[in-house]
C-alpha cells in the first residue's frame, strides 16, 4: 500500500453520497472514478512491514502499489520478494524504475491490473491502503484464496467486522489480520487422555479467527476452553476431572494434528492427537 489508491471509486463515491444525503447511492450504476493517489509516508511503510514481521522468505503483495514504495521497501529493508498491483500504468512504469534505482528489480514485480481481480494467491503478506468499500469487497476473496497464516496489514481502513489480531497506532492506525484456517464443523478427534476416552467428536463454530465449541463423547460434553486460532495454528483446553488437557496443533485442510499436554509439572503427560473432518461448517450451513 503505498498508496491509498482507491480504485473503484464507485464505492467511495457511494460512501460520500451516503454521508451527505443519508441515502445509499446507486453504486452499481456509477463508473469507476480514479481517486487521488495518496502515498504512504516512510513511517507508514516501515510500520506496515514491521507489523507483518516480514522475513526474507515472504512474498509481499501490495494492493494498489502506487510508486512501488512498499514493495521496494520489503525487498530492500527486509530481504523479501514483492509484487505490486496497480491500476495506473504510469505508476507501474515509475515503480519499475524506482525498483531498478533501489537495486531490487530482480526481486520485485509490478503488474498493471485491478486489485479486485488480480491473482493474490502466492502472497504470504498482503498490504493495502484502500478505502473501506474496497477493503470490504476484497475481504471474501482474501479469506477464501489466501493460505491460512497469510498476514494482511491494512493502513487506516481495516475490515468492519473482522477483529484485528493486532493494532498499532503511530500517528495513524495499522491493523494486522492473520488469515484463519477454516475449522468450523464436526471433526473426529483421536486423543489419548489419561482418565479419558480415545475418541471424541469435536464440534467447532467459527467467526474469522474466533472459535468456540467442545468435544462430545458418549455420555457427555467437554467444553473447549481458551480456544484460539491463529492462521493454521489451533489450540484449546479440555478438562476431565481436575486435569486440563492443552491441545495445540496445526490445521491442514480436512485434518489437524498436534500435541496434547495433560496436567502440569512433573505429572505432565504429552501425547499426539489427530482430528479429521466429518462435516464442514459450510456443509452444515
Amino acid at each position: 500500500m503505498a498508496q491509498g489508491r482507491a480504485r473503484s471509486t464507485a464505492a467511495a463515491a457511494c460512501m460520500l453520497a451516503a454521508a451527505v444525503a443519508a441515502g445509499p447511492g446507486a453504486a452499481a450504476g456509477l463508473p469507476d472514478i480514479p481517486t487521488p493517489y495518496l502515498a504512504s509516508t516512510h513511517v507508514a511503510v516501515d510500520e506496515m512491514l514491521r507489523l507483518a514481521e516480514v522475513r526474507a522468505e515472504d512474498l509481499v503483495v501490495d494492493l494498489g502499489s502506487g510508486d512501488g514504495r512498499v514493495v521496494i521497501a520489503a525487498a530492500r529493508d527486509w530481504g523479501a520478494r514483492g509484487l505490486g498491483i496497480e491500476i495506473d500504468p504510469a505508476l507501474v512504469e515509475e515503480s519499475r524504475a524506482n525498483a531498478r534505482r533501489a537495486g531490487v528489480a530482480e526481486r520485485v514485480e509490478f503488474r498493471h491490473g485491478d486489485v479486485l481481480t488480480a491473482d493474490l494467491r502466492a502472497g504470504t503478506v498482503v498490504t493495502m491502503y484502500l478505502l473501506t468499500p474496497l477493503v470490504e469487497r476484497l475481504k471474501p476473496r482474501l479469506l477464501a484464496e489466501l493460505r491460512p497464516g497469510t498476514r494482511i496489514v491494512a493502513h487506516d481502513y481495516g475490515f468492519s467486522d473482522w477483529k484485528a489480531d493486532r493494532r498499532v497506532t503511530i500517528s495513524k492506525t495499522y491493523y494486522l489480520y492473520v488469515v484463519p484456517a477454516q475449522v468450523a464443523g464436526r471433526w473426529q478427534l483421536t486423543a489419548t487422555l489419561p482418565g479419558g476416552e480415545g475418541e471424541y467428536e469435536l464440534r467447532l463454530e467459527q467467526r474469522y479467527q474466533e472459535i468456540r465449541g467442545g468435544a462430545h463423547l458418549s455420555g457427555g460434553f467437554l467444553p473447549a476452553f481458551e480456544a484460539r486460532l491463529s492462521g493454521d495454528r489451533i489450540q484449546f483446553v479440555l478438562v476431565t476431572g481436575q486435569t486440563s488437557h492443552r491441545f495445540e496443533g496445526q490445521v491442514r485442510g480436512a485434518a489437524m494434528e498436534g500435541v496434547v499436554r495433560s496436567g502440569t509439572g512433573p505429572q505432565l503427560v504429552a501425547s499426539r492427537w489427530r482430528a479429521t473432518r466429518i462435516v464442514s461448517g459450510a456443509e452444515e450451513g
Binding site: 509516508t41 516512510h42 513511517v43 516501515d46 510500520e47 512491514l49 514491521r50 516480514v54 521497501a73 530492500r76 529493508d77 527486509w78 530481504g79 498499532v168 497506532t169 503511530i170 500517528s171 476452553f225 481458551e226 483446553v237 478438562v239 476431572g241 481436575q242 486435569t243 486440563s244 496436567g263 502440569t264 509439572g265 512433573p266 505429572q267
Partner: protein, 286 residues
C-alpha cells in the same frame, strides 16, 4: 488456596449497608481479625492454572494469602519446584497444611503461618496468589501495587477492580494475572544519539496501574509518544523523528525502569535499515 475464613466482617458490612444500623462487634472483630473470608478450597484444576498463568518456576517464592489447607503453596513446591509461604487465620488449617507439606515431601521448601494477611510481609514474594472476596482484594490493592515491579499476582473469580488484569484465562473458572508495574509517572530527561545530532528529549508520563501515556519534547518542540506500555519493569514506547536528510522514521524505545533511572535501547527505523543506540533517562520530577 484458599480462601478464607469466616465472614463475619463481610456479613456485618452487608447488614450495615442494608439496615443502616450499627451492629455489635462480631466474633471476628473481637478476635481482632476484621478481614475474614470463608474457607472455600480452590479446585486442583484451578490451582494448577493459577500457577501456570503466573509462570511459576523453581526460582519463585510464592506467598498465598489465605492459604487454607495449603494446596497452592504445596502444589507450587511439588509441581513447579518453587518455595512458598502460606498465611491463614485458622490455626487448625495451618497445622493441617504443615502435615500435608510433609506428606508431599516439600516441608523444607514451604512454610505456613497463622497470620493476618494484612500484617504479612509481602516483599519476599515473586508471586502472590489469592482467593479473597472483592472487598478484601480492594483493600490489598495498594499494597500489591507497591511491590517490586515484575511481581506477579494471580487470583481467581475476584479481580482488583479498576486495576485490569494483564492476562485472563477461563478454564472452568476465571483466573487473573497482574504484573506489578514500575512507577514511571513524572518528568524524565534523556538525550539520544540520532544520526543528525544528539537530541535532548524530555518525557512526561502519566500512569494508572499498568496503563501509561506520555508526551515528549524533542529539543524543546512538542513530540507525540505512541504505544506506551509497561510490563513490570519493562517500558516501551514509540516516537517519530524527522531527521534532516533521512526522512521521517519511527524511534522504538525499550528500557528497564529502576527507581528514577530508565536504561535501554532505542531503535531507529526497521528491517535492515534499523540502527540501535543506548538511551538513559533520569527522573527530574515526580
Amino acid at each position: 488456596m484458599m480462601g478464607a475464613r469466616a465472614v463475619p466482617a463481610v456479613l456485618c458490612a452487608l447488614l450495615c449497608a442494608v439496615l443502616a444500623v450499627p451492629l455489635a462487634p462480631s466474633h471476628a472483630q473481637e478476635r481482632g481479625f476484621p478481614h475474614d473470608v470463608p474457607f472455600v478450597p480452590t479446585a486442583q484444576l484451578t490451582v494448577d492454572e493459577m500457577l501456570r498463568l503466573a509462570g511459576v518456576t523453581a526460582k519463585d517464592f510464592v506467598i498465598d494469602l489465605g492459604s487454607g489447607d495449603g494446596r497452592i503453596v504445596i502444589t507450587a513446591a511439588r509441581k513447579f519446584g518453587a518455595r512458598g509461604l502460606g498465611v491463614d487465620l485458622d490455626f487448625n488449617l495451618v497445622i493441617q497444611s504443615e502435615e500435608s507439606a510433609r506428606q508431599a515431601g516439600v516441608a523444607d521448601r514451604v512454610q505456613f503461618l497463622q497470620q493476618d494477611l494484612f500484617k504479612t510481609d509481602l516483599s519476599p514474594a515473586s508471586v502472590i496468589t489469592t482467593y479473597l472476596l472483592p472487598g478484601v482484594m480492594l483493600k490489598l490493592r495498594d499494597r500489591l501495587l507497591a511491590l517490586k515491579p515484575g511481581t506477579r499476582v494471580v487470583s481467581h473469580d475476584f479481580d482488583l477492580g479498576d486495576w485490569k488484569p494483564d492476562q485472563t484465562t477461563s478454564v472452568r473458572k476465571n483466573v487473573y494475572l497482574w504484573i506489578v508495574p514500575a512507577q514511571v509517572a513524572g518528568v524524565w530527561r534523556t538525550s539520544i544519539e540520532l544520526p543528525a545530532a544528539a537530541r535532548k528529549l524530555d518525557l512526561e508520563f502519566t500512569q494508572r496501574y499498568q496503563q501509561v501515556s506520555a508526551h515528549g519534547r524533542l529539543d524543546g518542540a512538542p513530540a507525540m509518544v505512541w504505544e506506551a506500555r509497561i510490563a513490570g519493569e519493562r517500558l516501551s514506547f514509540v516516537m517519530t523523528d524527522a531527521d534532516a536528510g533521512e526522512g521521517e522514521s519511527a524511534l522504538y524505545f525499550e528500557g528497564r525502569v529502576s527507581g528514577d533511572v530508565i536504561e535501554g535501547e532505542v531503535t531507529r527505523g526497521v528491517g535492515m535499515q534499523r540502527r540501535v543506540a543506548k538511551w538513559r533517562a533520569v527522573r527530574i520530577k515526580r
